[in-house]
């Protein structure tokens, strides 16, 4: 019997190696796998490359991982959300790769979908296109972007089953479904594990094929929404 459920977050991440690229779901606090980040902190891997839209908020989660010196590089669209990021970056202790938000999502999709690279108009003629191949297509300037693959993806979903099917709630999808497709190992934190078959096949957002491990982490309505 297939059973992808794992009891604890750190156990689900036990085989993460130093130097891994970790795709981390979420947009701000929503759909952001806080328990799995804590599991990563407990687990101990170092020199991580973190791919996440934001750099976290406050002092727990990603900011704590950064503060502990475990992050070598961060690839994101909007890191200016955590003070510790700004400090470490200013001190030259953290490498940063800024990617436009849509390009970040599309590069991750390309990795998951077996696309070797693609052309986008986004960032053409700007500093963020510096050093990248460009091409004129039908008279318009495009920038060549490469796939961005993870060794591990940690994501947050709403319900999951023992095969790894996932649903999401509200604006909780964001980067999670696409990141699930693009890593060698995908671990999902879910609010509840339900019986196989309890999720209507038409309601599945992330089909089970993309998910390797499921950890049940029920929690109260999460964080106060923070505006920045």
């Amino acid at each position: 019997m297939i059973n992808k459920q794992v009891a604890r977050a750190a156990e689900a991440l036990a085989d993460v190696r130093d130097g891994s690229t970790i795709l981390v779901g979420g947009f701000g606090q929503i759909g952001h796998p806080m328990a799995l980040i804590d599991g990563l902190i407990e687990q101990g891997a170092r020199d991580l490359v973190i791919v996440c839209n934001n750099a976290g908020v406050g002092t727990s989660g990603l900011p704590r991982l950064m503060k502990l010196g475990r992050v070598a590089k961060i690839i994101c669209s909007y890191p200016r959300t955590a003070a510790v990021f700004t400090e470490l970056y200013a001190a030259g202790k953290l490498e940063l790769e800024i990617t436009p938000q849509g390009t970040l999502a599309e590069r991750i999709r390309a990795a998951g979908a077996g696309i070797g690279g693609f052309y986008t108009r986004t960032s053409a003629g700007t500093l963020l296109a510096a050093g990248k191949e460009t091409r004129e297509i039908d008279g318009v300037a495009y920038v060549f972007e490469k796939p961005l693959k993870g060794d591990v993806a940690i994501i947050e979903a709403w319900e999951g089953d023992r095969w790894g099917n996932l649903t999401y709630r509200g604006s909780g999808q964001n980067f999670n479904p696409v990141m699930a497709t693009a890593a060698a190992l995908t671990v999902a934190q879910v609010q509840r594990v339900v019986e196989l078959g309890a999720i209507d096949p038409e309601d599945v957002v992330t089909p089970s094929i993309f998910v390797d491990r499921v950890v049940e982490i029920p929690y109260e309505p999460p964080y106060p929404a923070i505006s920045y």
Partner: protein, 226 residues
């Protein structure tokens, strides 16, 4: 004339709302609209009652309603500024790849952004104040700037120091080249045309020369040859 005077020194919340109201007035029914942070955020609540406009948020929402006015907002539902929002009947929820299919694929009728500078050739600078920014952050600005069918900018006409934000050439790093179609400020509404900025509308108590005096770029009168 107090309102006009206030516009000269930079708008407070009411003046910012006045800018947002002008934009809201000009959005036709049925448009799909993405709003940036700052003054644009104020627009959604100012659309005339009964006019159906669909607001999109790049984190995966189409059909956002007003901010929740009760004590128990849905904590799993936030907009791109991470503020709690509501959904209208007919709303839809989706992931980032479909959201940026909408944005980059030319499906968004209008994106209203704030800006650091807009040049009279439509160049937009709104993401970074320096090539050596200490911690640059771009978010979805570059995708929206090239992908939406129309880019309008809603911003103060000048910086707090009084410098014009409508310029003949951007000094800050570009978000995208040649994309801005219209600018709404606390002084005027200006179209970006082949000959440069054209004053489409002056706000109450403001005349053309007063706007030109506060603008780095040369202005043109609508319908008047240069």
């Amino acid at each position: 004339m107090r309102a006009a005077a206030e516009r000269m020194v930079g708008p407070g919340l009411e003046a910012r709302k006045a800018i947002a109201r002008l934009v809201a007035r000009d959005i036709p029914e049925g448009w799909h609209v993405n709003l940036g942070i700052g003054i644009p955020t104020l627009i959604s609540d100012l659309v005339p009652a009964g006019r159906e406009v669909l607001f999109q948020s790049e984190n995966g929402i189409l059909g956002m309603g007003p901010a929740p006015d009760d004590e128990t907002p849905d904590p799993w539902l936030v907009n791109a500024g991470k503020q709690n929002v509501t959904l209208l009947p007919g709303a839809s929820l989706f992931d980032h790849t479909l959201s940026f299919t909408m944005i980059r694929g030319g499906h968004i009728d209008l994106c209203v952004l704030g800006a650091l500078e807009v040049a009279d050739n439509g160049d937009l600078a709104n993401w970074s104040t320096s090539a050596a920014d200490t911690a640059p952050a771009v978010g979805g600005a570059m995708d929206l700037a090239v992908g939406a069918r129309r880019i309008w900018v809603a911003m103060d006409h000048t910086t707090k120091q009084g410098a014009s934000k409508l310029v003949s050439a951007c000094s800050y790093p570009l978000t995208a080249a040649g994309v801005v179609k219209r600018v709404y400020t606390n002084l005027a509404v200006l179209d970006v045309t082949p000959r440069g900025f054209e004053v489409r509308e002056l706000l109450d108590g403001v005349d053309f020369d007063a706007v030109q005096a506060r603008t780095d770029a040369k202005l043109h009168r609508a319908g008047v040859a240069a």
